[in-house]
């Protein structure tokens, strides 16, 4: 009888201490505005309004606030992911943030075919028709295609080779990035915790482009490791925190190269690499400095003084160092932020060539590719 009473008190106490403890800790602990682990802004305490209460927005925000600011949030998410992994689950994240497959020692982002995919290929054809400047297309199949054999058996991902076949018919000069990447698929050409290609992967992209130009590519330079604790975007979206962080390498010194950044309002200059970005979470922005509408890269020591226009996504950031060895001036525009008809723009800067450089994943779903057709 005594044991019963004691243990009943223990059970009641466990329940109460857990709920009251975390409830009170939640109130006492200071709120954070940004989560480096998840790489996103967190919901802060919503301000009360009668309208918000009536619409249900206030209580919805309050619920998100309680989740986002919950004590030990990162630890809970890590625990959940480990628990689910233990039970056999191999895909994490969700439709809005993206699905991530856990493939042994690496994370691979699932690519889902977008409704825009076919139309975007048409826009590329229109660009080729609209301009007299040669258009090269260096479309990058992502890790989900190059490393398909490493996905969990039977896991779905878009057929990117089939999409590349469509791209080949656009009339643009096809740069066979995929072929070269596939040849080197046993090397570290993609990060294990991030969706981008590594500098090594980007080198093969550069080599494929040089081949298409009929130029002998520069040899891969000496490797410099600038970071050994890079936890990328897939680390953030999946909640899988137990993998060894990636290292970030460079092969081009970038000496004498200046990068002019136009963020839409102001202009500033720096080198090919932004040292201070290695301290923060999103270390991939070490290359070029992150998403900006326009970069102008100038290298007086380049092989030619020609001008190249790169229409691109963020994969091009790690390609740029290699390209800067070839072209005296490179304009890199991101159509998500620099929304301008591409053909006219290329003419206005006197470009000698246009390079369309996207990953298949981003190209087929981006709703700004329409500017290629205008």
């Amino acid at each position: 009888m005594k044991l019963r009473k004691t243990m009943q008190i223990v059970t009641a106490a466990v329940f109460c201490i857990f709920l009251y403890g975390f409830g009170i800790a939640h109130i006492l602990l200071p709120d954070e505005t940004f989560s480096p682990v998840e790489n996103r802004y967190l919901q802060t305490m919503p301000t009360f309004s009668w309208q918000g209460l009536k619409d249900g927005d206030y209580t919805a925000d309050l619920e998100t606030y309680l989740e986002d600011q919950f004590p030990l949030r990162d630890g809970w998410i890590g625990l959940k992911t480990r628990y689910e992994y233990l039970l056999g689950k191999r895909e994490f994240g969700d439709e809005s943030r993206g699905i991530v497959y856990v493939c042994g020692d690496k994370l691979i982002s699932k690519v889902q075919k977008n409704d825009r995919a076919d139309q975007n290929v048409n826009y590329l054809s229109q660009l080729v028709e609209k301009t007299d400047i040669p258009v090269y297309v260096a479309m990058i199949p992502t890790a989900a295609e190059i490393w398909r054999d490493q996905l969990p058996e039977g896991a779905e991902s878009m057929d990117q080779w089939a999409y590349l076949e469509q791209v080949k018919d656009t009339g643009a000069i096809y740069v066979d990035v995929g072929g070269l990447l596939a040849e080197h698929s046993d090397e570290s050409i993609f990060y294990r915790t991030d969706h981008h290609w590594t500098s090594l992967g980007a080198y093969y992209g550069y080599a494929a482009f040089m081949e298409a130009l009929g130029v002998t590519p520069e040899a891969l330079g000496e490797k410099t490791t600038v970071s050994t604790d890079f936890n990328g975007t897939l680390y953030s979206t999946s909640g899988v925190h137990w993998l060894t962080p990636d290292e970030i390498d460079t092969y081009v010194s970038g000496e004498g190269v200046t990068v002019t950044v136009n963020d839409g309002q102001t202009e500033s200059t720096h080198g090919l690499y932004v040292e201070e970005n290695l301290i923060g979470k999103d270390k991939y922005t070490y290359f070029m400095g992150g998403n900006n509408p326009l970069y102008i890269i100038e290298n007086p020591n380049a092989a030619t003084d020609e001008t190249l226009l790169v229409v691109r996504d963020s994969y091009a950031d790690s390609l740029a160092p290699f390209l800067s060895q070839q072209y005296g001036t490179i304009y890199m525009i991101d159509l998500r932020y620099y929304r301008t008809p591409v053909a006219d723009y290329a003419a206005s800067i006197g470009a000698d060539a246009i390079l369309v450089n996207y990953s298949v994943e981003n190209f087929q779903k981006d709703d700004n590719i329409i500017f290629m057709g205008q």
């Binding site: 044991l3 019963r4 009473k5 243990m7 009943q8 008190i9 223990v10 059970t11 009641a12 106490a13 466990v14 329940f15 109460c16 857990f18 709920l19 009251y20 975390f22 409830g23 939640h26 209460l53 009536k54 249900g56 209580t59 309050l62 619920e63 309680l66 989740e67 919950f70 949030r73 809970w76 998410i77 625990l79 959940k80 992911t81 628990y83 689910e84 039970l87 056999g88 689950k89 191999r90 895909e91 994240g93 969700d94 943030r97 969990p152 058996e153 039977g154 896991a155 779905e156 909640g239």
Partner: protein, 463 residues
């Protein structure tokens, strides 16, 4: 607010329990009434009006029934009026748009649609309040003269939004006198933890698999995949729904109430008749007591009896949602109930138990297909896939089977009384010592899952 959420667990429940236990006995019902109103107002504050309206209408009707006790005709009028008001509320919010939309579609008229969101739990609480006037009329329960006490019954948060559907007579006494104490509180904690685990750790985990199969087009589906998807949905709705009922029973015990059981291992049934004795028991009971029996039940001519079965099951169907698929689902069960009672049951009994189980589960799974796939075209494609209108199996189907296999094994075991039997076989001392460990384990894992609440649906928005 839903039970399986951080605001409920760490803020609402903690504050409510504390204030409740500190309140003097006389004020506890008042506090519960206010706390329940807050609970209901969380998502849709405007609908708190329905709570007040429901309370006032049914309170008045109860008093009228009592007043006209001597004049049965008048008393019946009062009952009829109460039923009318409750059904009117339910009809207006839940069925108006569906009915008018259907009429418009057939006739080409443009009767007005309101497009108002369905008040959460409306089907549950209108049925509960309807039982009150009827119970008072039948003298199964005394009239409640204290409007606060009555309001507490109407709004009681543990079973307000997802059942069990409490009949007034079963709690009439408890509304005034409740036994509380450490033992009951702890049994409430244990029961609540079981329910929370069922909802968060089991139902949510398998729900994502059903969503994946539901989203597949006709080409992607396979025969094995279609059945796997239905099994996933069957597990999801059972563990979600029965988890909610467990949490309701547990919360009730924490504050001294004893609610009825709502599920009794439905998936071990050997016939459809048995299945409905084990599934959502409070709803079947409600229909039996307040509709089927008054209609004459089975103690009448065969024709009338068939009519009664059809009425009850059509209504059971659309109780679950205003949509053609729910009507179809109700009729589907009416047909199986009639068939088993009329002739099938005799043959079924003679078959080996395994065959009876398979028979029942196949019917139940197809039933869930009617229930869950609301688009008729998609429903047709899905059923076709079930019965061979697709490739048999694919690498992708195997991927889902492989990655969900441990969870599926857990779900199968958890659908049987095996775990409960194992638990009851342990010595009491063992159970006492293990209990807090299990409660802590459930709280830790559920908190982890709720903090990253990327998948935590509330399935009863259509109910």
């Amino acid at each position: 607010m839903v039970f399986s959420s951080l605001p409920f667990l760490f803020f609402y429940l903690t504050v409510v329990l504390l204030v409740y236990k500190l309140s003097p006995l006389k004020l506890r019902n008042l506090f519960l009434f206010l706390a329940s109103l807050f609970f209901y107002a969380w998502g849709e504050p405007v609908y708190i009006v329905i709570m007040f309206l429901s309370t006032a209408i049914d309170y008045t009707h109860g008093m009228l029934v009592e007043k006209w006790r001597a004049n049965d005709k008048k008393a019946r009028m009062a009952v009829a009026s109460s039923v009318f008001f409750n059904l009117a509320i339910l009809f207006f919010f839940k069925y108006w748009d569906f009915l008018m939309g259907s009429i418009n579609a057939i006739t080409g008229w443009s009767l007005p649609l309101f497009g108002i969101p369905l008040p959460i739990g409306i089907s549950f609480y209108t049925f509960q309040t309807m039982s009150y006037t009827i119970d008072v009329y039948r003298q199964d329960a005394p009239v409640q003269k204290n409007i606060i006490t009555f309001g507490t019954f109407v709004t009681l948060f543990p079973q307000l939004i997802a059942g069990p559907i409490i009949q007034y007579k079963s709690v009439a006494e408890q509304l005034m006198h409740r036994e509380e104490g450490l033992g009951k509180f702890v049994s409430g904690v244990e029961r609540f933890s079981v329910g929370l685990a069922k909802k968060v750790l089991l139902a949510n985990a398998i729900g994502s698999m059903w969503d994946a199969f539901l989203a597949m087009s006709g080409e992607e589906l396979t025969v094995v995949g279609a059945w796997l998807g239905l099994a996933a949905y069957a597990f999801q709705i059972y563990f979600d729904f029965s988890g909610y009922s467990d949490m309701a029973v547990g919360l009730g015990r924490m504050i001294g109430f004893e609610f009825m059981e709502n599920f009794n291992y439905p998936y071990i049934s050997k016939s459809i008749v048995e299945f409905w004795k084990r599934w959502h028991i409070s709803l079947t009971n409600w229909f039996r007591e307040y509709l089927y029996f008054p209609l004459g039940g089975s103690r009448c001519s065969k024709g009338k009896w068939i009519r009664n079965i059809l009425i009850v099951w059509v209504l059971t169907g659309i109780w679950h949602g205003a949509g053609w698929n729910f009507l179809l689902w109700g009729l589907y069960y009416a047909v199986w109930m009639l068939a088993e009672r009329l002739f099938l049951g005799k043959y079924l009994e003679k078959l080996p138990a395994a065959v009876q189980h398979v028979y029942t589960m196949v019917i139940v799974l197809i039933g869930w297909c009617l229930f869950a796939v609301e688009d008729m075209g998609h429903l047709g494609r899905y059923l076709a896939a079930c019965f061979g209108g697709a490739q048999f199996i694919s690498a992708n189907t195997l991927y889902y089977l492989r990655t969900y296999l441990p969870m599926l094994v857990i779900l199968v075991v958890a659908s049987t009384p095996a775990v409960k039997k194992l638990w009851n076989r342990q010595k009491e001392n063992v159970r006492l010592v293990v209990s807090p460990v299990l409660v802590l384990g459930v709280l830790i894992l559920c908190t982890a899952c709720l903090v990253d609440a990327s998948y935590n649906p509330f399935l009863y928005f259509r109910f």
